[in-house]
């Protein structure tokens, strides 16, 4: 079980997807609390350089049965991913690449002139990508 979320700079959600869909509320709660951690990390960076390493925030915090990873773009759009702790095969690099894919797809959405930044994301291509990615994880 895992979940993938996208939050905009004002911290309201642009996109939420869980696999499987039960326990979703718990995931939502986790993700919202993790936003605090994300903000903490962002503010800690402060004037640091913006480079790849800092977009990826890494493991935000582990809880008893799942891990939360964060990623923030330059425009303060936050990606949060919750994965099951039992999924030990998931390496950091894989998480990074998943975030990168997410970021790429997000940029594609941005390129769509019909998309207003700040809207919920309804793009089918994005959905497909996220689904396939989460299938890999689960």
């Amino acid at each position: 079980p895992s979940q993938c979320d996208l939050f905009c700079s004002q911290n309201y959600p642009l996109y939420i997807r869980s696999v499987p869909t039960e326990n979703e509320l718990k995931f939502h709660y986790t993700v919202h609390t993790s936003l605090d951690v994300v903000d903490e990390k962002i503010s800690a960076m402060g004037k640091a350089l913006v480079d790849q390493r800092e977009l990826y925030l890494g493991l935000l915090y582990p809880t008893e049965d799942y891990k939360v990873y964060g990623y923030v773009t330059n425009s303060k759009v936050k990606f949060v991913m919750v994965v099951d702790s039992s999924n030990t095969a998931l390496r950091d690099n894989e998480i990074r690449s998943m975030f990168r894919k997410l970021h790429n797809s997000y940029t594609d959405i941005m390129c769509n002139p019909f998309y207003n930044p700040g809207d919920r994301i309804h793009s089918r291509a994005f959905d497909t990508m996220v689904n396939s990615m989460m299938m890999q994880v689960c």
Binding site: L49, Q52, N74, N104, T107, C111, P113, F114, A125, T128
Partner: protein
């Protein structure tokens, strides 16, 4: 006589039965026993068979004998029409075969008929095109969900044929197969919408208004006729996702109205305004954009624009949007088609018998389809396998603009998913680079707002396309910033840098052949003494695609270069060579110094940039409202 024809046991399949009875009731109002001659005549003419064939059919089916079209005669006649359209001779024997349903041009749907009686139909026809087209498309979207994407109903709307171009259009519209003409008539409708809303392109609007008028003149005669759907979707000319020549021309004209240069892009906002006028709901337009903007750069090339326009048109005519871009709408396919329009015309316009034409055309598309079929995923983005030159350039642009670690990752991702190879040179340069890489690449503008926003990228793509137009034909290298504008700090050091640059290049050119570096490097040094800045840039641009992996080692190489050099002359005995080598060493040392200086200068610049950035960030912090969660 009735017995004579009825004695012929006519095997009718269920669909045929249904169709024929519908047609018959169309031509023959229920109380009567026989179809009216005029409506039958209209129907027959709509089948587009030559008149003598029609006469033959009338004879053979027995109507001439009995003097009227009873049900039996009518059914036989329909079967014969089908036979004739399939290429069989008009004989009683032919209809014993399995035949597709006879096809009639310019037919309406059932629903259309239900909505409008012929009287209303006429009235509707002569209303103001704009208003009625709105109604038409509104109706269409209602029906769209109900119907499967079968034959779109004919647009009953036509503006009064005012211009003489009407007559030119006639042969064209007749020349097309029925499905296509139907589709065109549909397109006539939304064309009108768009024309009236935003395009004051007089002649073409007149043309297309006239076209729908023309195609309405056929319905004029065949109002009550219903078109039949091709039995199978393998019928090539029926493919709604195929763009006809006329449609393509229309799209190209529209493109021109937005962007005079056919090889350039239409930016996203322009396209957005344009397509919003079609009054499709935004989510659908968004989806259409996603489908058609294959390389996801926020701008549409001509091919992409045609695809998008075609999708809009199709959607307005009631077709459901596909989940992925059909092969016939892919940019490569469209570009290929665009490039040889005349040949395609020959294929597409051969409509005396739709089947042979479709046969050819089917084969034509088979090459594309077969390669497309292998792609498992349904995303249009996975058609990378077909892009040959585009991919090559994209790969090279990827290599050019992405520092090596990104290149790595892009490649890795490409291994995992073909679509990631869809190069992202617009790349994550802003997200990626360390200082080193930013320096090394040197092509990203070193000045502040370095993050290419959408608009920035697009603007750059617009400019760049013109720049690269000469070099690359219809290939988008939009994400490669042209060297000239991106190297403002360089010119000051370029002169001193040149010898080292040129040395770098020979170095880069022969990384494996260290052995022969001795003589070759020497020669390079000697020959390359007066390098010019354009040469350097040219070398950079052209060679860079191949040599980016080596770009990072170059700086190391430079330092090693003088180190390597001293070893080599050990072999040579002649003093002249020794001297030459020593000069080379000296020059390399100079180059080294120059590069070191360059390094420090760039570092300095970087510091300044950082300072600016810090200043901006503090400003931002101050401006931001206090409550930040």
């Amino acid at each position: 006589a009735a017995a004579g024809t009825a004695g012929l046991l006519l095997p009718l399949s269920e669909t045929e039965q249904q169709r024929y009875s519908e047609l018959f009731s169309r031509c023959c109002p229920p109380p009567e026993a026989a179809a009216g001659g005029s409506s039958v005549g209209e129907l027959f003419r709509a089948s587009q068979l030559p008149p003598d064939t029609l006469h033959q059919i009338t004879e053979v089916c027995g109507a001439k004998r009995v003097g009227y079209f009873g049900p039996a005669q009518f059914y036989i006649a329909l079967k014969l029409i089908a036979a004739a359209q399939s290429g069989f001779p008009v004989r009683i024997e032919s209809i014993k075969n399995e035949l597709p349903l006879p096809r009639f041009m310019a037919l309406k749907n059932d629903t259309e008929v239900r909505y409008g009686t012929p009287a209303e139909f006429h009235g509707v026809k002569f209303q103001v095109p704009h208003a009625t087209l709105e109604k038409n498309s509104y109706k269409r979207t209602d029906e769209g969900d109900k119907q499967e994407p079968k034959s779109p109903s004919m647009s009953p709307i036509c503006s009064p044929p005012a211009s003489p171009s009407t007559y030119q259009r006639i042969p064209l519209s007749y020349g097309y197969g029925k499905a296509r003409s139907g589709l065109e008539q549909q397109h006539g409708a939304p064309y009108e919408v768009r024309h009236s809303t935003h395009q004051p392109d007089g002649p073409s609007s007149g043309n297309y208004g006239a076209k729908s008028a023309v195609t309405c003149s056929t319905p004029n005669r065949s109002l009550s006729v219903e078109r039949e759907q091709q039995d199978s979707s393998t019928q090539y000319s029926d493919d709604p996702w195929r763009i006809t020549e006329e449609q393509r021309d229309y799209y190209i004209n529209q493109f021109r109205s937005l962007q005079p240069d056919l090889n350039a892009f239409i930016s996203g906002s322009v396209a957005k305004n344009f397509f919003t006028k079609s009054k499709l709901p935004i989510p659908e337009l968004s989806h259409i954009w996603e489908l058609s903007d294959v390389d996801c750069d926020g701008a549409l090339t001509l091919a992409e624009f045609c695809a998008a326009f075609h999708l809009v048109v199709a959607r307005k005519n009631g077709y459901q949007l596909p989940e992925t871009l059909p092969e016939t709408l892919l940019p490569e396919y469209l570009q290929a088609a665009c490039l040889k329009p005349m040949r395609d015309c020959a294929q597409f316009d051969s409509y005396p018998e739709p089947l042979p034409g479709s046969q050819q055309a089917r084969d034509f598309s088979r090459t594309e389809k077969s390669s497309a079929e292998e792609v498992p995923d349904n995303s249009a983005l996975l058609q990378d396998g077909k892009k040959d030159d585009k991919q090559a350039l994209k790969v090279s642009t990827t290599l050019k603009t992405i520092p090596k670690e990104f290149q790595h990752l892009t490649m890795k991702a490409a291994a995992q998913e073909p679509h990631a190879l869809r190069a992202r040179p617009r790349s994550r340069s802003y997200s990626s680079t360390s200082i080193e890489d930013a320096m090394k690449k040197g092509e990203e503008p070193p000045t502040p707002p370095p993050r290419p926003q959408k608009s920035h990228s697009r603007a750059s793509s617009l400019d760049l396309n013109k720049v690269f137009q000469q070099n690359t034909q219809a290939v988008r290298s939009g994400w490669l910033p042209p060297p000239p504008p991106a190297l403002p700090p360089r010119p000051s050091v370029s002169q001193t840098e040149q010898p080292s640059e040129v040395e770098l290049h020979p170095q880069m050119n022969r990384p494996p052949s260290q052995a022969e570096e001795n003589s070759s490097a020497k020669k390079e040094v000697v020959l390359a003494q007066p390098p010019s800045k354009p040469t350097r840039r040219k070398l950079r641009t052209e060679a860079q695609g191949l040599e980016t992996p080596e770009l990072s080692p170059t700086i190391n190489v430079t330092s090693s270069l003088p180190a390597v050099k001293p070893h080599l002359p050990v072999q040579k005995q002649s003093s002249k060579q020794k001297r030459a080598i020593q000069t080379a060493i000296r020059k390399n040392k100079e180059a080294n110094a120059v590069l070191a200086r360059l390094n420090s200068e760039l570092q300095q610049q970087l510091k300044e940039v950082h300072k600016e950035r810090i200043a901006l960030e503090t400003q931002l912090e101050q401006l931001r409202p206090v409550t930040v969660l």
